[in-house]
């Protein structure tokens, strides 16, 4: 019985699996190889955000949004 939830939405299922529990076939689908490590990917995202933080701050905390429920 899988269930999952966070602070807001929750969901639980009672699932009955069929007799077959193995794949009928395998796909050869793959992602292309990554040329950067995870840390390099994250640091690239951080670098893009670094210059924008001060500018974005006001919009992210605008009064009309602060009152949004």
């Amino acid at each position: 019985m899988p269930a999952f939830g966070a602070g807001l939405t929750v969901c639980a299922h009672v699932v009955r699996w069929g007799a077959r529990v193995t794949p009928l076939a395998q796909s050869d689908a793959e992602l292309p190889p990554a040329s950067q490590t995870a840390l390099e990917l994250v640091n690239a995202i951080r670098a893009l955000k670094a210059g924008a933080r001060e500018r974005s701050g006001a919009g992210l905390n605008a009064p009309v949004l602060a009152g949004m429920r």
Binding site: M1, P2, A3, F4, G5, A6, G7, L8, T9, V10, C11, A12, H13, V14, V15, R16, W17, G18, R20, P23, L24, A25, Q26, S27, A29, E30, L31, P32, P33, A34, S35, Q36, T37, A38, L39, L41, V42, N43, I45, R46, L48, K49, A52, R53, R55, S56, G57, A58, G59, L60, N61, A62, L65, M68, R69
Partner: protein, 303 residues
């Protein structure tokens, strides 16, 4: 009766692994701090768009089911981190797969998007609106992450899973379910910067600020999941027409009924439902008693 059997399954995890040690290079944290509080040692970071991850997971799920993309007549894409808002992401998976005969819709309930999608697709199969469905759950949260906030940066990663559902007469698939939403807790998790409310406010898209009350979220999640599990099991019992064995209770049957109302439904409904039932009994108890009293002589007369 028609059911929606799970006949195919697949996943797609990006190859790049972000370890706790990696996080500690730019956050005030350690492997021990993260593992102690979350149990997490690593998460994946994607180098491709979410739709590409979803397509790989979908192809694996279709192969597992022994189906072709053209066999699909419904695609449900569960996510809160869509590559684009318009067009919808499900149509992106559809065109990547070549699923020419499918309807395509997105579902966003944040963490539970996949399970809500599973419920939606199963229900559409049960009604006959669809025969073969693909349900995808995918998140590409790394571009939206506030990487300076260790309370959230350590918790999330990128990845995707998919299942194929097929109509069947066999009693398989989702047999009981419970969906819920504690809307009063909206303030406990909000990602500022994701959505139209932040447009034209000089906010760089992707720059976010997370309102995240971890302890409240944990409390709501544990309570909500427990309650949802009990209710979904109760719904299954109800659907199957089985009665829960009753414990021997002293006193008259009416006493047993009153005790049920006072403590909630035996199938696991919570205090809120118990309160509603108690209120209902206060308002209508006399009328029900009157009906019972009037009913007995008629039955006696027929006998």
């Amino acid at each position: 009766m028609t059911y929606a059997a799970i006949t195919g399954w697949g996943k797609c995890m990006p190859p790049s692994v972000l370890s706790n040690a990696d996080l500690s290079t730019f956050l005030d944290t350690t492997d021990d701090w993260i593992v102690t509080r979350t149990g997490m040692r690593e998460r994946r970071i994607s180098h491709v768009p979410a739709i590409e991850m979803a397509t790989v997971a979908a192809r694996r799920a279709l192969a597992c089911a022994g189906l072709e993309a053209d066999d699909l007549d419904l695609i449900v894409y569960g996510s809160c981190s869509n590559d684009e808002q318009v067009p919808n992401s499900a149509s992106g998976v559809q065109v990547s797969l070549g699923a020419r005969h499918a309807a395509a819709m997105d579902v966003n309930t944040a963490c539970t998007s996949f399970l809500y999608g599973l419920s939606t697709a199963s229900a559409l199969i049960r009604t006959g609106a669809a025969r073969t469905a693909l349900v995808v759950g995918v998140e590409l949260i790394s571009p939206y992450m506030d990487w300076d906030n260790r309370n959230v940066a350590v918790l999330f990663g990128d990845g995707c899973a998919a299942v194929v559902l097929q109509a069947t007469d066999r009693q398989e698939g989702v047999l009981g379910e419970q969906l819920g939403c504690n809307a009063e807790a909206r303030h406990t998790l909000r990602v500022r910067g994701m959505g139209c409310a932040y447009a034209n406010r000089d906010v760089m898209f992707g720059d976010t600020q997370w309102d995240f009350d971890g302890q409240e979220i944990f409390r709501h999640a544990v309570q909500g999941m427990t309650q949802a599990q009990r209710r979904s099991a109760g719904a299954l019992r109800h659907r199957a027409g089985r009665r829960r064995p009753r414990r021997a209770a002293p006193g008259k049957p009416a006493d047993h009924r009153r005790r049920r109302l006072a403590h909630g439904h035996p199938d696991g409904q919570g205090d809120a439902d118990g309160a509603a039932l108690r209120q209902h009994e206060r308002r209508h108890g006399a009328r029900r008693a009157g009906r019972r009293a009037r009913g007995r002589p008629r039955r006696a007369a027929r006998d």
